[in-house]
Amino acid sequence: MESLNDGTAEFDLAVRSVRELNAELHAPSVERYVVRHPRGAHAVAAGVNRPLQVRIDGDVGYYCAGMNQEGLITVDGSAGPGVAENMMSGVVRIRGNASQSAGATAHGGLLIIEGNASTRCGISLKGGDIVVGGEMGAMGAFMAQAGRIVVCGDAGDGLGDSIYEAQIYIRGSVGTLGADCVEKEMRAADRKSLQDLLVQAGMTSQAEDASYLDGFRRYGSARTLYHFTHDHAGSY
C-alpha cells in the first residue's frame, strides 16, 4: 500500500488481494483510500464500518460496498450485481452503470447510480435511498418495504411489485406497474423529499429546476395485499 501526499493510501489490486484490501479497510490506518485496478473483483470494500472515503478506480464485480456502514465509497466505473446490498448507512456512488439487485435490502444510506440500473434495483429495500441518473430495469423496488427510489429516466416492467411502504419517483415512462403498485399524488412533502434526495445525490441544478421536478410522478403501495383474502388468487 502506497501513501499519497494528501494522506490518501493507494491500494493496487493488480498486486494485492481483495482480502488484504478489506482487512485494511476494516482496521484502517488512514481515512482515505484509492483502489487501483479492481478489474471486476467481487466484494471490493465490503463490510466497511466507519466513515472512510474509498474511491475505486475502475469496474467492480458483485457486492461492492456490501453492507456498508458509514463508508463514502465511489466507483469510477460500473458495478456488478448487488452493489451496496444491505447497506446500513453512508454513501455509495457509481459513476457508471449498475447490474441487477443494486441496493438490495438496504436499510439506510444513499446509493447513487449515475448511469443506468439493471433489473431488481432496490429489491426488498428497507429504508435506504437510491437515486438512478439514467434508466432502471424491470422489477425495480420488488417487495420494497421502506426507503425511496428516484429514477430520472424510464423504469421497466413490474415496477414496485408487492411493494410495502417504500416511495418511488420516476421522471420517465414506466413499462408496467407490478401487483399492488399504483401512481400516487405528488404532495408538497413528497416533492420536497424528492428535491432533497436530488441535492444529496449532487444534482443541485435539477433539484432547483421546477420544470424538471414537475416531470416526476410518484408511485407506492395501494395496500390491497396487506391482508390475505381469497380475492388475491389472481393478483400475483
Binding site: G47, G82, N86, G127
Partner: protein
C-alpha cells in the same frame, strides 16, 4: 351414545375426518389452511430402522462405566473459528416474531447449559437471544429482515438459508396478529399486516452466485465465521454437492417433517422428502467429494429422542438439529393448557396454529399476556433436561454398538424394518442383505 365405530359405520380411508374438515373449511372460507408444525402424515422415518446392538462379533461398551464421547466440531474446513458443541444436537433456526422473546431466551439458556448452539431465524437477532446463547448461529434468509452486519460479526457462525424441510421452494409467512410493534420495527414493516417473506434471495440466484455471496460474507467477517448452508430436503444429492462447491463449511439438511411457524398445509404435507430418504443422498454426495466429516452435515426434521439422534449419526450426519421437539420441551402443547387449547378449536398434543399468535403456552405468540406465561429460566431448564436425555439415550445405544464416540456409529450398526425404509435409507432389510435399488443406483 355409541360411537360411529361401535355402530358399524365405516370411515373413508381416503376422505377421513381431517380431509372432510379441510374441505368444509375451504368451502366456508375460500382460504387455504395455514398452520405451523411440520408434516403430520406418516412417512418412512427413523422408526423404521433398528440398531443391532452387540453380540459375538461386536463388543459392547459398559453402560455407565466406559466413555462414549459426544462432542462435535462444526465448520473448521476453511480456516474460520469453528463451533465446538458438547452434544451433537443444536437448536434449529426459529425467528423472533414466530416465537416470543421469552421463548428465544429460553432456547438460548437451555442450549447454553448443555454446551450447544442455537440459531436465529427470519427476523433478525434479539438481545435476549444473543445474551443468553453461548453459541449463536445467525441466519441469512431471503427476506433479510433485521439483517445487520454488526450481528454478522457478533455471531458465532452464519447460516445461508436456501430452504427448509417444511416448504422447500416456499417463502416465509407471518400473519398480522403476530406483527407486534417490536416485530414490525425489526422487520421494517407496518404493524399488523400479513407479512410475506421472499422465497428467493434478493441478490443472488444459482450456485455460482452463491459462491460469490459466501465469499462476500467471509470478507465482511474477515473469514472468522464458519458458513453453514441450510437446504430443504428435495434434491439433496445435487444441493449438497453445490453447497460444498460454493464453499459451505457445514450443510444443514432439513427433512419434510421439519417444522414451520406458518405455511400452507398443502405445502407442508406435499413438498419435500423425508429426512430418512434425504440423508443417504447427502452423505453419498459428500463421500464422492471426499468431504464427508470434513464438511459437517447437520440433519433435522422429526428428531424426537436419542434413538433418532443415534440413527441420524449412524447414517452419516455429524449432528442433528431440533425445532418442534425443542418447543415441546419448553412447554408447547402442555396438557395443563388443555382447556385453552379446546377453546381454540384444538387440543393439547394437536395444537399447530403457531401462525395464530394465541398460543396458550406463550411460545408462538407476541401477545404480552400470553408470552409472560413462559418463564425463560424454567423453560430453559426443561430444554436442557431434554437435551441431556437425548444425549444419554444416544450414548446408551452407541455403547450397545461398542462405540466410544457417537460419531463412530455407522450404517452397519442398523437394519431396516420395511422395504421402503431399506430403499430410502440404503440400510438392508432386517434378516437380509437386501437394499432395494442398490444394484442400479447411480447419481440421484
Amino acid at each position: 351414545m355409541r360411537s360411529p365405530e361401535d355402530r358399524g359405520l365405516r370411515e373413508s380411508a381416503t376422505f377421513d375426518r381431517a380431509a372432510i374438515t379441510a374441505i368444509q373449511a375451504a368451502a366456508a372460507t375460500g382460504v387455504y389452511d395455514i398452520r405451523g408444525w411440520g408434516a403430520k402424515r406418516r412417512v418412512p422415518h427413523f422408526d423404521d430402522l433398528l440398531f443391532l446392538g452387540s453380540s459375538m462379533s461386536r463388543y459392547p461398551l459398559e453402560g455407565y462405566r466406559e466413555r462414549c464421547d459426544t462432542d462435535v466440531v462444526l465448520g473448521d474446513l476453511h480456516g474460520a473459528e469453528p463451533i465446538h458443541i458438547k452434544i451433537p444436537v443444536t437448536i434449529a433456526g426459529m425467528s423472533f416474531g414466530a416465537l416470543s422473546a421469552q421463548a428465544k431466551e429460553a432456547l438460548g439458556r437451555g442450549a447454553s447449559k448443555v454446551g450447544t448452539a442455537t440459531t436465529t431465524g427470519d427476523g433478525g437477532m434479539t438481545e435476549e437471544e444473543r445474551g443468553h446463547s453461548d453459541k449463536l448461529i445467525y441466519q441469512l434468509l431471503p427476506s433479510r429482515y433485521g439483517m445487520n452486519p454488526d450481528h454478522l460479526r457478533a455471531a458465532d457462525a452464519l447460516e445461508v438459508v436456501l430452504g427448509q424441510g417444511a416448504k422447500p421452494g416456499g417463502g416465509g409467512m407471518l400473519l398480522g396478529q403476530k406483527i407486534s410493534e417490536r416485530v414490525a420495527e425489526m422487520r421494517t414493516l407496518p404493524a399488523g399486516i400479513d407479512q410475506r417473506s421472499a422465497c428467493r434471495h434478493p441478490d443472488w440466484t444459482g450456485p455460482d452466485d452463491l459462491t460469490i455471496k459466501i465469499n462476500e460474507l467471509r470478507e465482511i467477517t474477515d473469514w472468522t465465521k464458519p458458513i453453514f448452508v441450510k437446504i430443504g430436503a428435495s434434491r439433496p444429492y445435487y444441493d449438497v454437492k453445490l453447497a460444498v462447491a460454493a464453499g459451505a463449511d457445514v450443510v444443514v439438511l432439513d427433512g419434510m417433517q421439519g417444522g414451520t411457524a406458518a405455511t400452507q398445509e398443502v405445502f407442508i404435507e406435499h413438498v419435500g422428502i423425508p429426512i430418512l430418504a434425504a440423508l443417504p443422498q447427502a452423505v453419498q454426495a459428500l463421500q464422492e467429494l471426499g468431504m464427508h466429516r470434513r464438511v459437517q452435515l447437520v440433519a433435522s426434521g422429526g428428531i424426537r429422542h436419542g434413538a433418532d439422534v443415534a440413527k441420524a449419526l449412524a447414517m452419516g450426519a455429524d449432528a442433528v438439529s431440533i425445532g418442534t421437539a425443542a418447543l415441546i420441551a419448553l412447554g408447547d402443547n402442555d396438557p395443563k393448557y388443555a382447556e385453552e387449547y379446546e377453546k381454540l378449536g384444538s387440543a393439547a398434543g394437536y395444537y399447530d396454529d403457531f401462525q395464530d399468535g394465541r398460543d396458550p403456552a406463550g411460545i408462538t405468540t407476541q401477545d404480552p399476556y400470553l408470552a409472560a406465561r413462559l418463564d425463560p429460566v424454567e423453560a430453559g431448564d426443561r430444554l436442557a433436561n431434554y437435551l441431556r436425555v437425548l444425549t444419554l439415550e444416544a450414548q446408551t445405544l452407541a455403547r450397545a454398538c461398542g462405540k466410544s464416540h457417537l460419531l463412530n456409529l455407522e450404517p452397519e450398526d442398523m437394519v431396516s424394518l420395511t422395504v421402503e425404509a431399506a430403499a430410502m435409507s440404503r440400510i438392508p432389510l432386517a434378516g437380509t442383505s437386501w437394499i432395494p435399488g442398490a444394484e442400479t443406483r447411480g447419481a440421484e
